[in-house]
């Protein structure tokens, strides 16, 4: 989920949302849209059209088949915009909103602790956080991974981790029980929001897959849950044990450092650093070599 914050976005809202969805974001929380936009209905309609156009592009982007939009404010705003409703901690209960919007409406709620989670019956998802220190919540102590785990255990519905989430932290929050992530700055402040969203999507998919597999194998193979990093090499997913370096990866493919050129997240890695560059979950690697050419 992308949470929008006009003050932190490098791109105009419609462009940012389009890029994020193209990169793999499947829900957007248009925070304060009813306050910040003169004509929120027009903004939402424009976004729907752009997101629809992305899907028509097909393979050019990673746009999911559905992208959910939610707004905050009162249920009437959500109804008027035909979006979901996101409730803040101090807002009405999800059950009350549900009684106003009906069973099909998407209703989410922000929670900061176990008590909040227990009051969230009726919600479709919770935003739990902030998990890590976050620019959105300066000075406030983060819930941390234990706090997130406690909220996830008490929650009546899926939990998205929010607050200081980066690609490298996705595996940790998923292990703590999150079923998704929500970010502001990780996409909005990125040089390339689409690439940033894609990196997060890759990391999340890989972490959820790992979580699923470790759940299935926990009983028979307790060592399977050993930490791993999930990344993408030449467009294909790959995993290595935590702490593995680029050299380790090449060696695992019976390649010497000398023949491979590695670009990691858009930056070329000097060959001398292959052995000291640890792979991170979400990394995008391009590994090339010389072939015959004219």
């Amino acid at each position: 989920m992308l949470v929008t914050d006009a003050a932190r976005a490098r791109l105009p809202l419609p462009d940012l949302v389009t890029e994020a969805v193209a990169g793999g974001v499947d829900a957007v929380y248009l925070r304060d849209i009813a306050l910040s936009a003169a004509a929120p209905a027009a903004v939402v309609a424009d976004l729907r059209e752009r997101i629809g156009a992305l899907r028509d592009e097909g393979t050019a982007c990673r746009a999911p088949t559905t992208c959910r939009l939610v707004v905050n404010g009162d249920p009437e705003t959500a109804r008027a915009l035909a979006t979901g409703l996101h409730l803040r901690d101090a807002d009405m209960s999800p059950e009350e909103a549900r009684s106003l919007l009906g069973p099909d409406a998407i209703i989410g709620k922000s929670v900061h602790d176990v008590a909040g989670a227990t009051r969230a019956a009726g919600a479709d998802y919770l935003l739990a956080g902030h998990v890590f220190p976050s620019r959105s919540k300066p000075g406030l102590p983060p819930a941390g991974l234990p706090g997130l785990a406690a909220i996830a255990a008490a929650a009546p519905c899926p939990v998205l981790a929010i607050g200081g989430i980066t690609a490298a932290r996705v595996a940790d929050v998923v292990r703590a029980g999150a079923q998704g992530i929500a970010v502001i700055g990780a996409i909005a402040e990125a040089d390339d929001p689409r690439a940033a969203a894609a990196q997060l999507r890759t990391a999340l998919d890989a972490a959820l897959q790992t979580q699923k597999e470790s759940g299935m194998n926990d009983a028979s193979s307790p060592t399977h849950a050993e930490a791993a990093v999930a990344f993408v090499v030449n467009g294909k997913p790959a995993t290595m044990p935590e702490g593995a370096t680029i050299h380790d990866f090449l060696a695992s493919k019976k390649m010497t450092d000398a023949m491979a050129i590695v670009e990691r997240n858009g930056a070329i890695v000097p060959r001398a650093e292959y052995g000291s560059t640890a792979l991170q979950t979400g990394d995008q690697l391009e590994v090339v070599h010389a072939v015959g050419g004219g």
Partner: protein, 269 residues
């Protein structure tokens, strides 16, 4: 002059890149060969000093996937990476930088080719990429259409050669662009390498007779029935053409000019 068993290496270098001098006027591509052995035999027979390569993703699913640099003796041949496959300036710059990480010398055969049917290079993208790469200290050898003003612009930017195409890559059509190549050569302030379209030794000789500094050949050698023999033949064509250029071709006349004396013909009145 003596006929050496292999082509004699001309004494003076025609190209100097980052202090390294090149004398062989035939550059060879390394693509399309049926086997590694045929490629190595052709490289050997060609007398080439510069061999071009491309950059591609490693296929980790294919255990046989290996770098061509494991096959070529890089102490003997200078390896010139190209940016084949790049359709924009941005892509070409990215590939050139990756190629630079191979430590083959900061040089690149710049190709920006958006057109898959004729593989004709994009002059604007090529110029843009050349500007960036030259600023970064690359020796740039741009592959271009036979466009004299573009060749001048690239030379002014600081390209170390210009490489106009004779005809589309791999087409073997020969020097379809001969007149334009002649103008490029006439105006050149950097070495001119005729690249692409050469199908036979006669094409290479014709290019060199015009005063081209070198030829780059790939398909004509790689896909010949006997690549090594064709490499040797084209090298001889290059040398023959070069020598002819140095020797000075006679002018073309509209009418005959008898080779034997006109005086003293038996039976003349």
């Amino acid at each position: 002059m003596s006929l050496a068993p292999h082509h004699p290496t001309p004494p003076t270098p025609w190209l100097t890149v980052h202090g390294r001098e090149f004398r062989s006027r035939l550059m060879l591509g390394s693509g399309k060969y049926r086997t590694r052995e045929e490629m190595l035999a052709a490289l050997d027979a060609s007398g080439a000093e510069i061999v071009t390569v491309a950059l591609r993703r490693i296929d980790f699913d294919d255990p046989a996937s290996r770098s061509i640099l494991e096959d070529i003796d890089t102490s003997r041949f200078a390896i010139l990476p190209n940016t084949a496959g790049c359709t924009t300036a941005e892509e070409a710059i990215r590939i050139a930088r990756m190629a630079d990480a191979m430590d083959l010398g900061r040089w690149v055969k710049l190709e920006v080719i958006p057109d898959a049917k004729y593989l004709l290079p994009d002059p604007i993208g090529t110029l843009e990429a050349a500007r960036v790469l030259i600023d970064e200290g690359f020796a740039v050898l741009p592959y271009i259409g036979a466009d004299p003003p573009l060749a001048r612009r690239l030379a002014e930017l600081g390209s170390v050669t210009v490489m106009p195409l004779g005809s589309p890559i791999g087409s073997g059509q020969g020097l379809v662009n001969l007149e334009a190549i002649r103008i490029i050569i006439e105006q050149a302030t950097v070495p001119v390498v005729v690249d692409a379209g050469i199908g036979a030794p006669s094409d290479a000789a014709l290019a060199m007779e015009q005063g081209a500094d070198a030829c780059l050949v790939n398909t004509a050698v790689a896909l010949a029935r006997n690549p090594a023999l064709m490499a040797e033949a084209i090298a001889a064509g290059v040398d023959a053409g070069r020598n002819a250029f140095l020797a000075g071709r006679i002018p073309r006349l509209a009418y005959a000019s008898a080779s034997s004396p006109l005086a003293g013909v038996v039976g003349a009145a």
